[in-house]
Subunit: 134 residues, 3 copies
C-alpha cells in the first residue's frame, strides 16, 4: 500500500484530498481496476461528495452535529464520542474505479477526509487493484 | 466498467436495482470474485436492504428526513443540501461477492439506488473483479 | 468465500469480531491484497471503530437511537424498522488491506458486527482478493 500524510487544521472539517489521491493512483501506473482508500483511524472517516462548492462540506458537518448531538450522556471518557460515531456513519474506506490509468470520479465528485477530532496528523492508505474483467 | 442508466421518478425514493445489477454481472461471465457498484453522483447513494416489503424503503426515507431536517440553516445555495448529506450517509459504492457466476446476496437483501434529489437520469457504474482466493 | 457464524445476545450490540476475521484471513494464506467482509442480512451492519474502550460501542448505539427514534410512524409492520435503517447507515460491507499476510488495521481499530435486531444467529462472509499492485 501507499501512505499519504494529511495534516488537519480544525476540530471538524472535510478536507478535499482528490488531487493527492488522483496523483498517487497515477504514480502506480495501474491501467484498469479499483482503487481502495482507507483511513486507519477511529475518529475520522472518508466520503465522496461535491467539491465545487465548499458550502456542501460545511452543511454535511452542520447536519452531522444536529443528528449526533454533543450533549448526549456519552460513556466514553475521552470526550470525543461524537467523533467516533460520525466516523462510523461516514465509513473508513472508499473504492473508486480506474480506467485508462485515471481515477473515475463523477463530474461533481471529490474525495474528502472527514475529520471529527482534529487538528491532527492523519494517514490515508491507498491500494491499486488491477483486476477488472471489463 | 459497465454503465446502467436509471430514471428516477420522485424527489426521494429507493429504487430496487437488484435485477439490473444481477443481469449485468451475469453478462460479464465472471465466475468468482467481487462486483463493485458505484454512483458517480453527489445527491444519491447506494444501499443494500430488504426488498420484500417496500415499506422498509419508505421507512428509511422517513428516518433520514427526521435525522437530516430540511429546516437547518444550510449554506449551499442550490437548496439540495439534505440530498448531499444523505448521499454521504448512505455511501457511493457497494461491493458484493460473486460465486459460480451469481451475485451473492442474502435472502432478504436487495440493491437500492437511494435518490434524494430527483427526478433525474442517474448512472450506475459496475465492475466485476475476478480475483478471489477462496 | 468463507463463512463465520456469530451468535448475538442482545437486541442491539456491537460485537468485536476482529480476532475471528483476522484468523480467517490468516488461514487463507493470502500475502497481499484486500479482504472483503460482508453481512448477508438487512437488520445488522458492519463498522470499524475503537475496540480498546467498549464505551465507544455503547455510545454509537446511544447516538443511533437518538438519530433514528423508535417512535416515528414507521410503515413496516414487523416493528424492526429502526434496525433496517441503522443497518443502511452502518453499511453491509468493509474492505481492509492485507500486507505480509496480515490484516492492516489502525492501532485503535477493531471490526464490529453491529446488531440492531437480535439476539440472532448471524453470518459473516469473508473473501480474500490477492491483487494489489503495490
Amino acid at each position: 500500500m501507499l501512505k499519504l500524510d494529511i495534516m488537519t487544521t480544525k476540530k471538524e472539517e472535510l478536507i478535499d484530498i482528490t488531487q493527492r489521491v488522483t496523483g498517487a493512483i497515477k504514480a502506480t501506473q495501474i491501467k484498469k481496476g479499483t482503487a481502495v482508500i482507507y483511513v486507519p483511524h477511529t475518529t475520522c472517516g472518508l466520503t465522496i461528495n461535491e467539491k465545487a462548492d465548499p458550502d456542501v462540506a460545511a452543511d454535511i458537518l452542520l447536519a452531522l452535529k444536529k443528528a449526533v448531538p454533543d450533549s448526549l450522556p456519552y460513556a466514553h471518557l475521552e470526550g470525543n464520542s461524537t467523533a467516533h460515531i460520525k466516523a462510523s456513519v461516514m465509513g473508513s474506506s472508499l473504492q473508486i474505479m480506474v480506467e485508462d490509468g485515471e481515477l473515475q470520479l463523477g463530474r461533481w465528485q471529490g474525495i474528502f477526509l472527514a475529520e471529527f477530532d482534529g487538528p491532527r496528523k492523519r494517514e490515508i492508505w491507498i491500494q491499486a487493484n488491477e483486476d477488472s474483467l471489463f
